[in-house]
Symmetry: D3
Subunit: 166 residues, 6 copies
């Protein structure tokens, strides 16, 4: 039985992430999506709790996926969840370079944990959370690129929609 | 009749930008250079008004180029100026990756607008606004890399020259 | 009035090529697709006449496109067709590097001719003639990746179909 | 239960391949290493039978790995072996680009088969079969980069060793 | 007699830097490691004085290396130290692109000064100061990747060790 | 005293090569340009003797450069010439990747020999021997990209000039 973690910022989760998590869930017994909460980068949009709940909603239909947050090393997060695999998505050459260094650092820290890379599907290859944040902030329509609940949250956030309950 | 926009930060405009705008103006009926004013990145040097006026001065000799500023989506800026083409410059592989994602995002937002890439001439391939800002701030001579008015503005800014009218 | 050439081997023409030629034909007055016939690379599949006729069939529905073959310098081919623009497609970083060098060489040979790059649409970014040749030779279904006439030619070539008229 | 195939030319198998196959065998129930026999590239060294037997010897100590040869589409080879996963190694950016296109082509041909990429360990990142062939042909010592049986085969091939049984 | 400078942020110095400086010291008469003190980037960890003293300690055993700090142009720093060579390390493609532009800018500013690139050894190719800072801040063990004195400083900084003298 | 070798195919030597050899000769006591004669690649133009004599003519004005040919490992060629340095030029990302692997292979074979990379000057970044061969074969003017003697040899070869002495 092989368990995996799929770590990231997920600020917010996109349909590219959902596609990747879905495919990982076919390969491994259980996949824990890990919301990294420590670095609040400049340009961050949603707080960690919101990012977690959005990812949970977007992935609720897949039985062997759970979502959790973490603020330490990815390899420690993997061990805490009984996972021997870290799943990462590759969209482009610049992703590759970063992932290459990250993989070797993770291997140095935990040689028993394997990093598995899946290629993003070609229709999602231009979708990144940072692009989503920027385009949505400028009023661009990203409804075809993010889950429905994320689209609502973005519209609410950028004043295009009355807050829920209003 | 095909009109084009050539968007960017232009902080400040360089001779690489001037070369590209000049070549675009030979290809298309009219080119509107668009100064993107929204994101005030860390490391920004000139305010949007100054960036606009410097670009206007540097391109005043080309009749079918005008300069304008914008703070929304590039595809909306293009539509407002009756342009069906967005012109972008490519200097290096890292440019390519970013432009690739940007092009596909723009195509998703506005399938009727075409993104056209021109390669930066080899003599300008190492010239970027961020390099110009850094080198000029350290007292390096960038007079061969930027228009004359920009060179004066940089010298004034970094205390190497008395302000105009002083 | 700006005319363009779109040169390549087109062995065979793919739907990626058709997409690019179609977009180029919206940008320029006239586009001449140029079949380069000189280098018969190892792995070549169709002879130049066949490549020409397949491209003509696949592009016949676009009034301002013609197809021609050439065996000299691309810049000379452009001049012979009254074109001041060479159109090239970019799919990936490795394309970019080659095109970058090619563009600068062409600029060295003919400074008055501009090279314009269009990004391949994301759904065609993995489609290349060499992949098509290899997959088709192994019996893979490429019908969604090439024009109908090319698909028939591939099936005939690899013995999956009786020759026309047989 | 998830089975995988790990396809390649393996001309010859290197310690980088052995490392990757070993790691894949920890992730999946069974791994079938697939020797692609169709394209006899210029520069090929060993015939398919020899490549197969060398790989079998080098991987004999791993119980859930078998080695087989194939000459058709990789996705067909996967199906014939009841595998839903294709494993590929990534060493460098140029690998990435090729694998990216290959993955999307394979996904187009067989959407139910997943391509999983593992990063080559940093100590093997410069080891490729083509480098091994070239260095060995020039008398360079590659004994630390290939399995023992491959080293003997290379020495025999390049006249540095009497043939076995001689 | 050729002297060289080896400039960088060194926040902190890693074993990859030590390896590179050591190799540069075999090639050139004297190597001055230059700690760039001007840009205090977001994410900076140690102040310039500390970075300088850590580098001095880590390189004290190599007689023809000295360490100095600078806040101007690298080419000016080189001239002040009688150096006609700037040494830079290359780890990855993204390094290459940046170094390429930097080299051409430096050549523009000072055509008499040569930039020499050395490839980082494969076992250090994933080690960067920014990774070290992040991993150490999360409690990861980086003792095999940095000099002993840097490891102590990192442990002290992140509260894993009582300050010296405490 | 540090000697260097600068190996390559030099089919033919270009002004990019001359620039690099000239710069290497400023850095090191003596530079031996090494013409690799073993692999006669498809597309090769001049035989090894001709490549050697063209390089000798083009570099005759630099006293501390000699030209020699070799057919074995580069590290052995270096040792035979008392060189502890191998000089390589970098033009582009694809060069980088190949050089990266080559450097690590050479380091594996001969840890005492250092590989030093110099960036090609921006005005030569698009010049490669293979481009020169192709453009010259099509009648393109490459006189500004190669030494005078090479230009004559190319014209003679492609029938644009009567052979010397004819």
């Amino acid at each position: 039985m092989t368990n995996a973690v799929y770590p990231g910022s997920f600020d917010p989760i996109t349909l590219g992430h959902v596609d990747l998590a879905t495919r990982a869930a076919r390969l491994f017994e259980h996949v824990t999506v890990g919301i990294y909460t420590r670095s609040q980068k400049p340009g961050a949009l949603f707080d960690p709790e919101r990012r977690l709940s959005m990812a949970q909603d977007a992935l609720a239909h897949i039985p062997n996926i759970t979502v959790d947050s973490f603020s330490g090393l990815t390899v420690d997060f993997a061990r805490e969840h009984g996972a021997s695999v870290i799943v990462r998505g590759l969209r482009a050459v610049s992703d590759f370079e970063y992932e290459f260094k990250l993989t070797h650092m993770n291997h140095h820290l935990a040689p028993d944990i394997e990093v598995v890379c899946l290629m993003t599907s070609s229709k999602h290859s231009f979708v990144s959370s940072s692009f989503i944040r920027e385009v949505a902030s400028l009023g661009g329509d990203v409804s075809a690129l993010v889950p429905g609940n994320v689209n609502l949250a973005l519209q609410e956030r950028f004043g295009l929609l009355a807050p829920v309950g209003d």
